[in-house]
Symmetry: C2
Subunit: 144 residues, 2 copies
């Protein structure tokens, strides 16, 4: 059992169940983002019983807790990835091979302040994501 993941779960106020640990392990080993169904298909071998709803539920809870991140994908399906960078930052996601690269936080926090001040509203969250093709995929024009 991976103590790092168990601690992360405990810190998030979640029980460290074998299935949650397996989800985290699998996603950490993943080079990019993955869909709930893909993860489920692979994890099924390791448990005699594992429901797809369990995978959905845990991925969502884990992303709520900040242990995982969610991709905003043009096809509007759910994808998650494991990102160990605990600083506030953003991502460049490859639409072809699914690789995820960190982008250091730019001036969004300042922008939030600005918007709040000027319009009187309250910014609850922001989305900043660059979509494209990573170096490798851009070269050989691959698409999936």
């Amino acid at each position: 059992m991976d103590q790092r993941h168990a601690s992360a779960l405990k810190a998030a106020g979640m029980k460290a169940t074998p299935k949650r640990l397996a989800i985290l392990e699998m996603l950490e080993a993943e080079p990019g983002y993955a869909s709930p169904e893909e993860l489920w298909k692979r994890l099924k071998d390791r448990f005699d019983r594992l429901g797809l709803p369990t995978v959905y539920r845990n991925l969502e809870e884990l992303s709520q807790s900040g242990v995982l991140s969610k991709v905003i994908h043009p096809n509007r399906q759910l994808y998650y990835y494991f990102c160990s960078n605990r600083e506030h930052h953003h991502h460049f996601v490859c639409l072809s091979c699914r690789k995820v690269e960190d982008i250091p936080a730019c001036g969004i926090e300042a922008l939030e302040q600005e918007v709040s001040k000027r319009n009187g509203g309250k910014v609850l969250s922001h989305i900043l994501q660059l979509n494209g093709l990573c170096g490798g995929c851009a070269d050989n024009g691959e698409k999936r």
Copy 2:
């Protein structure tokens, strides 16, 4: 018939059908973003026959052409809004009353260049959206 919208459609290489014009009119009159089904329900009165798929199809085509914009909503349903600002910019969307406010473009273009240069990939698009509560909604704590 609204000549502005007819021209916009022509410029986008799309036929100026009555239904497309009605969709644009209705969305322009809207104070915020709206869902395909909401628009359909209201537009049905003005046409003896109007299919929901037609509304979906047109909203998607219009947003592809840049005539309309799409909201990235946490509930993952589709919402569109009419934005006459033709400059490149971003939005603050209220999750409560659905108002949309413009945000002048920040340094994202520079960030795209940076990412391309450093990682060798190609940025095809970016998402920047601030989610929150507008002035009015933040005040009275309304939610919907």
